[in-house]
Symmetry: C2
Subunit: 338 residues, 2 copies
């Protein structure tokens, strides 16, 4: 035990010295590069474990890779996003890459700052989940780093896309409500920035309006806008119910909002059919039994990661995958006798 308590992190230089080889040699075994004898590899790895050596990402970054995949998320609080991360993490298992998450700025959920932060850190690949950032900027990002757009329906030849079939999902939800006899159906969605076309919520809104019109209930269409979160949705729906807005059902843009609507209905003591989107875990809880549109969050997150890995492997053409959105009917949406 002649060793003093390891002070500074060991560098590649230290490893080389201990192993009695050159730095280049160490770097080679590190990168599994061509041209290293077994004997050398062994001595080097021995030295590395002895010194508890770990390469510094920053130094590597100066020359290229960071072995980091970044994901920008609008709202950690929404369970659906957690599922995406779960799938992504699992897909990265066994690869040398590490996932880091950058939450969108507090409150705004805009995502631009988070994306910039990830870019500043030179991630090797980027997953942007429904960023509220204009497409030219996104295109430009995608020219410098492999990126997959998650959720938004943009078309681009620069980045890959993973999305759900929001149009089909929203249509299924509306048909279900109509089939149950509802005509006065409101749509509960987030404030405008999410309502424009490429956004999932924009598509859901569009389909809602189209469905109402097609069914001849265009005049009964009501779009309720809310901030993010169960609590905000609760407030909005409570206010509407108090105001006596004549509505028998609500199609919520995602499950958290749907839970808020359910809470408001329960508190007001009025029957209100609620349908959500995403199918988060709690939606299937018997106490809630929320009818909703299922999206395979884990699978989608995993696919996004795999697309990035393919890019690293050399794929040049953009990829695009749309995941099925499947209606899951549960009890709570049993139509209240209107």
């Amino acid at each position: 035990m002649t060793d003093a308590p390891a002070r500074r992190h060991a560098t590649i230089e230290d490893v080389a010295r201990v192993a009695g080889v050159s730095r280049a040699a160490v770097s080679k075994v590190l990168r599994n590069a061509y041209g290293v004898s077994d004997a050398m590899r062994e001595r080097v790895t021995a030295a590395m474990t002895e010194l508890n050596y770990r390469p510094r990402i920053a130094a590597r970054a100066m020359r290229g890779r960071t072995y980091t995949i970044g994901i920008e998320l609008p709202d950690l609080t929404n369970h659906f996003f957690a599922r995406i991360v779960k799938g992504a993490t699992e897909a990265l298992d066994g690869t040398p890459y590490q996932l880091i998450i950058a939450p969108a700025e507090a409150g705004s959920r805009e995502g631009w700052r988070a994306l910039e932060a990830l870019l500043d850190r030179q991630v090797d690949g980027l997953i942007a989940v429904s960023p509220r950032v204009d497409d030219t900027r996104l295109e430009s990002i995608a020219t410098s780093v492999p990126m997959v757009m998650f959720g938004r329906h943009d078309i681009s030849d620069r980045y890959d896309v993973v999305a759900g079939d929001d149009a089909a999902g929203a249509r299924a939800a509306m048909q279900h409500l109509f089939g149950a006899g509802h005509t006065r159906v409101a749509h509960l969605t987030l404030h405008e920035s999410d309502e424009t076309e490429p956004f999932p919520h924009g598509v859901r809104l569009r389909e809602y309006l189209a469905a109402m019109a097609a069914a001849g209930h265009g005049d009964d269409a009501r779009v309720w806008r809310t901030d993010e979160g169960e609590a905000a949705a609760f407030e909005v729906v409570r206010r509407e119910l108090r105001a006596g807005t004549p509505v028998t059902a609500v199609f919520a843009a995602h499950d958290e909002l749907a839970f808020g609507a359910l809470r408001a209905a329960a508190q007001a003591g009025v029957p209100l059919a609620v349908i959500g989107y995403d199918d988060v875990t709690m939606a299937s809880h018997p106490a809630l039994g929320l009818t909703t549109v299922h999206q395979p969050g884990e699978a989608m997150g995993a696919r996004a990661v795999r697309m990035l890995l393919e890019r690293f492997e050399g794929r040049a053409e953009p990829a695009r995958e749309t995941f099925e959105a499947r209606l899951v009917v549960r009890t709570s949406t049993a139509p209240p006798r209107v």
Copy 2:
């Protein structure tokens, strides 16, 4: 518009050239260092915006700061952890620091790999949320980077600690159940690694056992162990109920597990009082009305961040703060007629 489409990221060199100054000068205005004339500052900032310059974190890291705070999380899927992140993000607002999250390895929730990944990336500060990592390693990490231990009750003079008052919380939960007439109370908790002393769940378990013994129901103590997540908890409780384990109430180690227990009870059609821990948003939903122990996740996350910022500012002595755990009684725990 003589500019060609900006290709590579601008460097400090480019800025210097455009502004007609030296690199050192640019670096100084960047860091707000002493000794820059207003005129120069202006020209430099102009050049920076013109070139859309952003300093590279990796290059900075080679010389010191990364302006990054890392947080290791065991399980994104648990809403309580999302709240911690929310508080942390908000507390970072307006500072030059960026939060990045490293999820614990898929499945194991051990956290060691995630911590290593963060360390490899030279975060300026580290928040470790209940890591399943031995204390000597943690101590050693804390010597090289400011760290706050979140959740675990370790005592150290090297790192700061933010924790909830798990002992008081668990006691309150048990007293509530006893007060409602329950004697056969089971404890639903995670598998052993979380049960040891410094862990929050370890403390809750200990208090559960102590409370049962003190109340003279030591023989009725039942510890049910489950994997993480609502679904796993559901399975375990369902199995126990099927097996006819004589129990009238369950104290769950956290709310997600409690939801699983509630689901099992609902499905089995048996009355079962369930009490949770954390007070996640859904706990207060009228359909669930879960009695639970409230922990102020946002405030705790924000405090952890502030402790780190204080360290950056120079604080040397370790800090430690324990947050109150407050019982919130809701309807579902109304005692079933035993």
